[in-house]
């Protein structure tokens, strides 16, 4: 499973992080990985965002208590009330196998996730 924390819905660029992952979804699925986006936005906000960007994967609302999940992963940003751009690849046994925290203003892309999935698959098949 891929858990992708991002600061907020509605970032004003084409190819924002979630739209980008939306396009890469078939590749993630090839590795048997499921993608979950997560931010502190509420459910209705997520619903509108999902519709607008035609997202084909679920967004989780870390909304009440706010940022609770992010805190557990150590990626809550106290000072602005959002989360880091943080990626986690979690294996079938629930272990975090890879993580990456991107500078907040840099979309981390998908290359790191794909490399991690590749490594994970290589390990499993050994």
């Amino acid at each position: 499973m891929i858990l992708a924390f991002y600061p907020a819905d509605w970032s004003p660029v084409c190819g924002d992080q979630m739209s980008l992952y939306n396009e890469v979804l078939p590749e993630f699925e090839r590795y048997g990985a499921r993608l979950l986006g997560i931010s502190v936005d509420g459910m209705w906000c997520h619903r509108a965002f999902t519709e607008n960007r035609k997202l084909h994967f679920p967004l989780l609302a870390d909304f009440e208590p706010k940022g609770d999940v992010a805190r557990r992963y150590g990626v809550y940003r106290e000072r602005d009330g959002t989360t880091e751009r943080a990626l986690f690849v979690i294996d079938a046994d629930g272990f975090i196998r890879w993580r990456y925290v991107s500078p907040i203003d840099v979309n981390p892309g998908a290359d790191g996730i794909l490399e991690a999935l590749e490594a994970l698959n290589a390990g499993v098949s050994k």
């Binding site: 084409c14 190819g15 840099v106």
Partner: protein, 182 residues
């Protein structure tokens, strides 16, 4: 558990399969991953032209497809039409035409463009219907994903992702710096 921090690099080297303009032995190669329907790419288009004009033979420019098909409904076909034009030796005229006609890129408009550029329209229409160039466009896209493309447009200067802005001055300065680093 690993943290990775790296400068994103082009993982698929520029080769014969690419659409390039400018001398192969130019000191600097600028690669753009772009989407024909993306307004930011549209804004970058005249900037890249200006940068190319100013640098002349010192620059080789390469364009690779990176259509965001879920948010831009015409981007995939636009990219495939550019590839179909390439098969008839007219990639760059079609590339330019697409960026000048971003406001209307449905299939009818694309075929009209093919007509304006005096392409064999029937074969372009067939290529679109058959998805002849779909795999090629996807290959470009995946090469971008593996190179850390994180939005459109994304530029690489001599294989290193350019994370700063892409106004004319910033892009020129970055290219000139890459030239000095040689």
């Amino acid at each position: 558990m690993s943290k990775h921090a790296h400068v994103a690099q082009l993982t698929v080297a520029v080769s014969d399969r690419d659409h390039t303009i400018g001398p192969a032995d130019a000191p600097v190669t600028l690669v753009e991953y772009g989407d024909y329907e993306c307004p930011y790419c549209g804004r970058a288009f005249p900037i890249v032209q200006e940068v190319r004009r100013r640098l002349g033979d010192r620059l080789r420019f390469v364009f690779r497809n990176f259509p965001l098909t879920q948010i831009h409904e015409h981007a995939e076909h636009a990219a495939e039409v550019a590839e179909a034009a390439a098969a008839q030796g007219k990639f760059w005229p079609m590339h330019d035409w697409l960026y000048r006609h971003q406001f209307a890129l449905d299939d009818d408009a694309l075929l009209e463009g093919a007509g304006e550029l005096e392409l064999d329209v029937a074969s372009v229409r067939r290529a679109l219907a058959d998805g002849t160039y779909r795999a090629r466009v996807r290959d470009d896209f995946m090469s971008g994903i593996k190179s850390g493309v994180n939005g459109t447009p994304t530029f690489y200067i001599n294989d290193v992702r350019h994370d700063a802005g892409y106004d004319t001055a910033t892009l020129l300065a970055a290219i000139e710096q890459a030239e000095l680093a040689l």
